[in-house]
Amino acid sequence: MIEVISSGLYSSIQDLGRFNYEEFGVPNSGNMDKFSSILCNNLLKNKDSDAVMEITMTGPKLLFKNRTKICITGADLSPKINNGSIEMNKVHNIHEEDVLNFGKLNYGYRTYLAVKGGFITDKIMGSRSMYYPITEKQKLKNGEVLFTKKVKTYDNHSNKYVFDYDEHFKKKIIYVYPGPEFNKLNKKQIVNLTSSEFTISNNNNRMAYQLNELFQNDIDPIISSLVLSGTVQLTPSGKLIILMRDNQTCGGYPRILQLSEESINRLSQKHAGKKIKFQIIDY
């Protein structure tokens, strides 16, 4: 059992997502950066699909009520157990009454905390990913209690990820496929789209990332059609909107680009003010 003493800015329980309910308007949700969440589960020898805690920019303060093992990947938010710094990307043994909290954000945007066996929260429509109104809550609240499995024995040696995955946090390049309305763009627009840098706006969350720069647009809106996470929409006013994991399932803006899965993960680690550059790839 874990008590959430304080929940931080935006912390939620997520797994790989909720599938096959898109026709009822239900987004896939799930971990924004699946590379980091799967890495976190793998280090603990959990299943890829076990639910983890996704922490955004400001960390929670958690009190562990029983023994377990944890691992932290993704953004480096200076994690500490009982006020002593601990390493990222490494398995740590946790004792009863241990307190985990976080400090300064050193790199990235979203941190993943996995516990041995995963978080045991309500599974609705095949997933524990928090998304209102499918789950009762959109994010964790102060004072709530989370259930986990008990661990009987600790490891003597701890798994650690030794490869450097710095690029995942630092690289600006976002790989995109042409979207369904890509062919409505003219040559100048395509050059513009792939040669300029774009800045992530303050308007960014699990649903969508808006970009600051206005893009010259003369494409008409379309009849409301289907979109995916990673779809880049172009609004009539020239704003670019990149849909993320809690995306709406349809929309009436032209869908000019589609992010690769790897690039959705990469973008999830970037916050307001960070620059990105699109690079078009083939299927």
């Binding site: 308007g25 609705i124 499918i134 009849i223 289907l226 995916l228 299927y283």
Partner: protein
């Protein structure tokens, strides 16, 4: 009726199939029939529809061209073996001003009596084209031109669950408290989305919705029945 369709790859694992670019009941019918064929004949996929497209997604799409050929063959050759059943659902709505928060504004802005708006809104059957945007939101088409009211420029942050709205040429019901930009003319006590039910929405694309007026008192009564799982909507088979 057979349409000229286009097939596009959309993302690594999805195929977008597009019909002519208009909102039309015949096109919807064609989409729903094709959707049903794909559901029965193609494995390991999920499929959703909009006004003029289908999106077929796979766990992994290894052979794009082969899959497209399979899909095309299905569209040209096969007929649906069993007839699909569609229903008209009768949905109670209270249009009193406590619920229809934008009715007074609409009356002034468009010089149209509130009563007239309600009368027109309850006089037609609306086709459900697709569910989406947020879970359980139904896009209902077939709204009379006199009550096409453009969406608000800035969405309201807290539209109440059950609010019945008009957004341009469409009407719909907000299935949860949510932000929204449609003009609110009433409220229905009916629950339209239940994440614990299978399927979570009982009304499906191709079905119709007809609204009827209820008083504030009835709204309260029906709401408590809905909460205790004791309310049954009237429905009628429409394609006998």
């Amino acid at each position: 009726m057979s349409y000229l369709l286009t097939y596009k790859r959309f993302g690594k694992n999805s195929i977008l199939i597009e019909w002519p670019n208009t909102i039309d009941e015949m096109i919807l019918q064609s989409i729903i029939e094709y959707k049903s064929l794909i559901e029965k004949n193609i494995k390991n996929k999920s499929i959703i529809n909009s006004y003029n497209s289908l999106l077929v997604s796979f766990n992994s799409l290894n052979n794009f061209q082969k899959t497209i050929d399979e899909l095309k063959a299905l569209y040209s050759k096969k007929k649906i073996s069993e007839k699909l059943k569609f229903y008209r659902w009768y949905i109670p709505v209270c249009y009193e001003n406590e619920f229809g928060s934008d009715l007074q504004d609409l009356e002034k802005k468009y010089n149209l009596d509130q009563e007239k708006i309600i009368k027109i809104h309850t006089a037609f059957n609306y086709k459900l084209y697709n569910i989406g945007f947020i879970p359980g939101f139904m896009y209902l088409g077939g709204l009379n031109k006199k009550i096409h009211f453009p969406r608000k420029r800035t969405p309201i942050l807290d539209v109440k669950k059950g609010s019945v709205g008009i957004g341009g040429s469409h009407t719909g019901i907000y299935p949860h408290n949510s932000p929204g930009g449609w003009n609110i003319i009433g409220n229905s006590p009916v629950n339209l989305f239940n994440p614990n039910a299978n399927p979570p929405c009982f009304i499906k694309p191709g079905d119709e919705v007809r609204f009827f007026t209820i008083s504030k008192k009835d709204h309260k009564k029906i709401k408590s029945k809905v909460e205790s799982n004791n309310y049954k909507l009237v429905k009628k088979l429409i394609n006998d």
